[in-house]
């Protein structure tokens, strides 16, 4: 043993010499990675070797220095001249400590000086003894370590007791069982061979790698198994869930990343697997076992962790295959496809016109099935361009985060109905108006935390983005639980800029509509978010350009809800064709509620007020031919029909002269020339090649309601 200690002293001396050289070289070149590494290596190796011999004073001094050098090495702490000087002192002190312990003396003054030095190096008071590592209390954090030393261990200079002693420096050894079953009969006993195995129950706040490092020097002469405590196992199970996908490909790597196994354990198991694989199958009846099984057999890791990791691996693989099933397609190609489907629908209609004109009964039958197919193709093609709105909504997380920070508000974003789908082209066009509305809600709507508390509301404001489908439309809602619209203030502003006369009587809803007027803002000071009074009118125009509608509902002190109705698609819809005089118009079928005979005997029709009592409900109506200024061609009284339409909560009746029935309507934009003109939202090409106009139902409902109120 003396000889070994001699080796230790020599080695320490050499290492400390290197450390001094490195420190001096580093003064000229403070970032040289190799030199920094050699500093760290010196302390690390001396610490490890001292641990084997049980030289606790050396260990407890070099350990904190090593930790600090690790920080320097990883760039977390700069190696300034001051630290450099201190490290030189550390080097000298380590040399003195080595001398002290090898001579079996105890110099209290030296130890005190060391503690003092450590304080300066680390900037804090070091533990007097490594035994003071904080200990967690629960039973679940007990490590199970089994050591099985090879017979050659003693001959190679490995002393089991020194490892166990070092281990006890890192925590607490709760139990230690020495297994002696390998002891041979006395006549075969070799005093220089080691026959002992140990099972240690260990407690300490350390990682598996830390424990493994204790036995690093004995790896070649000892079978080491370290089983994580139950508490850590729970942690592993959770961590597996969070492993990034790119690191969840191979089981061994996953477990290694978790710290559930050590590199050494993994390599051993992989070697074992390779050996099994190279054994001819005749000799090993079992097939090659997977790494997981080998690791469990070795006791390196519990089966539960392996199972969980395998599960995660499976998940990731499944997801990868799912992603492989998705195809990225150029939006333009999709657009072309949808246009072609539109043309197909139109030419199919043209065939029907011909078949009917020539009375080809057989053809009509075939045509019916073709039409059915075309309808399916249409729906499928449109479905291709449908995307969930959730992604658009999620983008506002950042906006909410940034804006609330900027304004000193505390705002939470709640997203509902993110899986609701609508046409990508609609989504693209709605993003800008939506951003505007969200910012308005954040800026004008939700109050500061102090104001909210004063109003008896929780300090955190909530902004909710909601989406759902309703009768062929998608409904988007922006709800805030802020101050709500102040009808009085809006009115005052509107009067100030001449939007309303002071004597005008307005309902709350009408006042709210005023915020869509150009130039109106209730914010006294404009900031870079909102408040310039442009915006809301632009928002409304953009939404109306999408054939959508925007409504507002607010309660003072309770919040504001803005509801946007949008068509699901801008491409192809199911239409319902009606006739007014000789002209034909298409109403989106989803908006049609019912068709009634316009008969004064059945319904109380109020011609003067343009409304009808429909089963107890007042329904505004308008005569399409009159309203659209269609020249009267036929003098004969036509059989009028009332088509009841609904958009959101708004209903109205259109009086038409003819019902032609359903048709697939390929929406053709009318171009910018007509966008401003109310009443028409688009056009479609009929089977005959003629163009039919699509009614702007929302606009017409508004007009009908206005007519009813005015009279």
């Amino acid at each position: 043993m003396d000889q070994l200690i001699q080796t230790f002293v020599q080695e320490a001396d050499e290492l400390l010499g290197q450390m001094e050289d490195a420190l001096l070289s580093l003064e000229e070149n403070p970032t040289d990675a190799e030199l920094l590494n050699s500093l760290f290596r010196a302390m690390h190796t001396i610490k490890g070797a001292a641990g084997i011999f049980g030289f606790d004073p050396v260990v407890s001094f070099t350990h904190p220095v090593e930790t600090e050098l690790d920080r320097v090495r990883s760039g977390k702490r700069p190696l300034d001249p001051e630290l450099s000087g201190l490290l030189l002192q550390c080097k000298d002190h380590t040399a003195r400590l080595v001398e002290m312990v090898t001579q079996n003396t105890l110099d209290k003054a030296l130890l005190a000086a060391g503690a003092d030095l450590l304080r300066q190096v680390t900037g804090q008071s070091p533990p007097l003894n490594a035994n003071n590592v904080p200990q967690a209390g629960s039973e679940a954090d007990q490590w199970l370590i089994s050591l099985s030393f090879h017979e050659t261990a003693f001959r190679n200079g490995i002393d089991p007791i020194s490892f166990i002693r070092y281990l006890s420096g890192m925590g607490e050894i709760l139990d230690l069982i020495t297994t002696q079953d390998r002891l041979p009969p006395l006549e075969d006993f070799d005093p220089e061979s080691c026959y002992l195995s140990f099972d240690i129950v260990f407690k300490g706040t350390v990682s598996k790698a830390d424990i493994a490092s204790v036995f690093e020097f004995a790896e070649d002469d000892c079978d080491i198994n370290i089983l994580a405590p139950a508490a850590l196992e729970q942690e592993f199970l959770q961590l597996i869930e969070q492993l990034p996908e790119e690191r969840s490909q191979r089981l061994g790597e996953m477990l290694l990343a978790l710290g559930a196994i050590t590199k050494h354990e993994l390599n051993r198991s992989l070697n074992r697997q390779r050996e099994e694989a190279s054994t001819p199958p005749s000799e090993s009846p079992e097939a090659v076992r997977p790494v997981g099984a080998l690791l469990v057999e070795r006791g390196a890791v519990s089966p539960r962790v392996v199972d969980k990791a395998l599960e995660r691996q499976q998940q990731v693989r499944q997801k990868a295959t799912q992603e492989a099933q998705l195809v990225r397609v150029d939006a333009e190609k999709l657009g072309r496809l949808i246009n072609l489907v539109g043309e197909l629908v139109i030419s199919n209609a043209a065939i029907r016109v011909q078949a009917e004109r020539h009375g080809l009964g057989d053809l009509q039958e075939v045509l019916a099935s073709a039409e059915h197919l075309v309808e399916n193709i249409r729906d499928t093609a449109l479905q291709l361009r449908m995307v969930q709105i959730g992604e658009t909504f999620s983008r506002f997380k950042r906006v909410v985060h940034d804006v609330s920070k900027e304004l000193g508000k505390d705002i939470e974003l709640v997203i509902r109905g993110g899986e609701t789908e609508l046409d990508k082209t609609v989504i693209e066009k709605i993003t800008d108006p939506l951003t505007h509305l969200v910012r308005n809600a954040l800026d004008h709507g939700i109050e500061s935390p102090a104001a909210r508390k004063q109003a008896g509301k929780p300090g955190t404001g909530t902004l909710t983005l909601n989406a759902y489908h309703d009768s062929g439309h998608i409904v988007l809602q922006i709800l805030d639980d802020g101050a709500g619209l102040n009808a009085g203030r809006i009115r005052a502003k509107a009067e100030a800029i001449g939007l309303v006369r002071p004597d005008q009587v307005l309902t709350d809803a009408e006042v709210w509509q005023l915020i869509f007027a150009p130039g109106l803002t209730t914010k006294d000071q404009a900031n870079n978010l909102s408040g310039r009074g442009v915006g809301m009118d632009v928002v409304r125009r953009n939404i109306e350009a999408l054939r959508g509608q925007i409504d507002i509902h607010s309660e003072l002190g309770a919040g504001t809800c803005i509801t946007i109705h949008l068509p699901l698609t801008l491409a192809i819809i199911d239409g319902f064709m009606v006739g007014a005089q000789q002209e034909r118009y298409v109403i989106p079928l989803a908006m049609v509620e019912e068709c009634l005979e316009m008969n004064a005997q059945d319904w109380a029709v109020d011609e003067e007020h343009h409304c009808i009592n429909l089963r107890g409900e007042v329904l505004p109506y308008l005569r399409l031919a009159n309203f659209l200024n269609i020249p009267q061609v036929t003098q004969a009284p036509l059989r009028e029909t009332l088509v009841v339409v609904r958009v959101g909560t708004h209903r109205a009746g259109f009086v038409v002269d003819e019902l032609y029935g359903e048709l697939q309507t390929v929406i053709k934009p009318l171009g910018r020339l007509f966008q401003h003109f109310k009443g028409i939202s688009g056009s479609t090409v009929l089977g005959t090649g003629e163009v039919a106009l699509i009614l702007d139902v929302q606009g017409l409902i508004q007009s009908a309601s206005a007519q009813m109120v005015v009279h």
């Binding site: 539109g342 043309e343 139109i346 800008d432 108006p433 505007h436 909102s530 310039r532 442009v534 915006g535 009118d537 632009v538 928002v539 125009r541 953009n542 350009a545 002209e583 309203f627 659209l628 200024n629 269609i630 053709k668 934009p669 009318l670 171009g671 910018r672 020339l673 007509f674 966008q675 401003h676 003109f677 109310k678 009443g679 028409i680 056009s683 090409v685 005959t688 090649g689 003629e690 163009v691 039919a692 106009l693």
Partner: protein, 182 residues
Amino acid sequence: MGSFSFHTQATSAEPPSVEGTPEQFLTFLSGQKLLGLAIREIEEILEAEEITSVPRVPRFIRGVMNVRGAVVPVLDLAAYWSDTPSSLSKRSCVVLIELSIGAAAQKVGLLVDEVREIIEVHATDLLPVPEFGAVADLSFVDAMLPLENGFVILLAVEHLLTAEDLPAVRLQDAAKQSLECD
């Protein structure tokens, strides 16, 4: 930059012979007046059939028609010109041109009473548009071509639909801009 240098080259390198090259114009009748439009502006000439009228729009917008699947607005040149709409006859035609409205290009049909002929015009033959000051806006007239028995009025397509004609276009451009910078 590229277009700029091209432009300067084109103007500086313009030889006198180019000025001497005649340009082709299509002449047509609209509200009893003889009008002309440069051939390069014209996409095609179509029969004037099945024009669907659009309600509640200015009178000079005759309606829309189907041009191989695209819905194209049709302007009534006579109504635009003289406030008297053309009445459709067998000879009525739609001259299809492309206008830039705002930033976008838009195909527009011009309803005319009768297409006449293609004439070759030298730049030197043209007369400038007489000045009427503020009384009449003649910005859509490019030049006048004197003939033996009168004039052909050559149209400046780019001024055919002015911003005043199209409040919608103006508003939408403004709206777009303010949303972008707000």
